[in-house]
Symmetry: C2
Subunit: 302 residues, 2 copies
């Protein structure tokens, strides 16, 4: 089944202890779509400027990503510049230029409105709600966000959260939005707003799903070399949602296996800068790493 | 099979956002023995002062812990005082009084020398090696340590590590002792010194076992309320080693299931101060939580 994503397409300048890229392909919707495209057809809604390089569009088309919802606006593409130190769990921003993203309003092509799976990547919660007004009755809508919206638009974000089935946040965001130092208590408070599933991203410690009735703890792949963590969270979400859309039903076993696939895709993304690793990734490599996950997290009963 | 532990028995004064205890039962060997005693007979080697309360000894005896190796020396018992803030991943020390622990030299009763499973809790690596000179050919010897010994006795610690089968450390200690920002690279370097198994404790993110041929990732129990994290790591080690000693063979499936049992025991310890929760813990509660672990970490293949 098809999967709609609304988010950013960007040009990223990133420095880590292992190298540097200048104006490389980036953005939440880009990582998400590319990861999801290994499992299901993806429709992308975003905006780029007239300076956006053609070969990036060709790459997305080659991944079978539907670009009918990608606006090409007068002006420059959204740019982000940042760096990571040896502790690569947190990015340090050097510069953000919103450019054409500043006046972005998502407009869904007619054919997108019946999309059964929808992912609202990290953008202004007001824009996330504009998207919800343009879709019919999807089987699953998931939402990502960031500390900036929690701090500047809590009311709108709370409303948006109440309208979706799933929320995807990192640990610090869960504690901040749920206003509790206990991760699980904060999670329960967020579920109290309406969503059925909360997925907590824990970086190199994997991810946890919290529902009214239980938990699922997905490990992260123990990587020796992380070259650039940019896009790991969006790749995780893309792998998970892509897998779910392929299954067609957001049943718990599919959600669990979706989280494993998300972790697998993210483990490849961080092995190289930008989308370089995903560009050469094969289905066999994904399959093999899913098997490795099974091997290193299974235990038998006595 | 029986399990020998050498470590500290202490009186702890601990403050957390959820309460305070004054001179409560503590120490690495205490938490370790109590946790392990749910699975196997434990022999304890440590020292206390003449001020050590009798009822603590009675408690350990009631847990079937063999105290023939517990020295009662003239002077005061080892005391530690510390506090935790809302982020309970790290303890802040207020005061450490070594007292009788300052001149401690482990002396194993004759009957202890044939113990097949041995755990050297966090003490001076020179003392850990004194213990190794007094044991025969155990099936498995494991060693724990801390940043203080890494920084002040790296050479002795390196030698002790080379003499054991298993090393148990937290994440920061692995990075510091293995001298690499990449946890997995640091882990490989430690395994290069001789041990077959490295167990990395990650607090509320579980534990990872690294061997020459693979990984095992054990989740932590997602707890809503952590009242006092003191002793969690020693409880984890005690549950794991106790389970292994009960199995009799340190085969990989037993090690994996041992780590799950260690995580289960630790999840109980942190629910209350000192050993209060372990004092009332039942085998049924352990069994049920192991089942929960299975439920929240299993996933099926597509």
């Amino acid at each position: 089944m098809s999967l709609l994503v609304v988010g950013s397409v960007a040009l990223d300048t990133v420095e880590t202890p292992f190298g540097l890229v200048n104006e490389a392909l980036g953005g939440s919707a880009t990582y998400f779509s590319t990861a999801a495209s290994f499992f299901t057809p993806v429709k992308l809604v975003a905006v780029v400027g007239q300076d956006f390089p053609d070969h990036h569009l060709s790459f997305l088309r080659q991944r079978q990503v539907d670009l009918a919802g990608l606006q090409i606006a007068p002006g420059r593409t959204f740019r982000w510049s940042g760096y990571y130190e040896y502790d690569m769990n947190s990015a340090h921003t050097r510069d953000t230029q919103l450019n054409v993203f500043a006046s972005f309003h998502p407009q869904l092509p007619e054919a997108y409105s019946s999309c059964p799976f929808v992912f609202l990547a990290n953008i202004d919660p007001e824009l996330q709600m504009e998207v919800l007004q343009q879709v019919g009755k999807p089987r699953l809508v998931a939402l990502d966000t960031m500390n900036y919206w929690i701090e500047t638009k809590r009311e709108a974000l709370t409303k948006a959260v109440s309208m979706v089935d799933m929320v995807v946040m990192n640990e610090a965001e869960v504690r901040e939005f749920g206003e509790n130092a206990s991760l699980i208590k904060a999670a329960r408070r967020i579920l109290g707003l309406g969503p059925r599933y909360l997925i907590i991203k824990k970086g190199e410690d994997g991810a946890v799903m919290v529902t009214a009735s239980g938990f699922f703890v997905a490990p992260a792949y123990p990587l020796e070399d992380v070259r650039d963590p940019t896009g790991a969270g969006d790749t995780f979400a893309g792998g998970m949602m892509g897998y779910l859309a392929r299954c067609g039903e957001p049943a718990i076993p599919n959600l669990r296996m979706g989280m494993i696939h998300g972790s697998v895709l993210a483990s490849f993304t961080v092995e190289d800068f930008s989308l370089e690793r995903l560009k050469v990734l094969t289905n066999d490599e994904i399959h093999n790493r899913v098997q490795e996950f099974k091997n290193f997290s299974c235990f038998v009963e006595d």
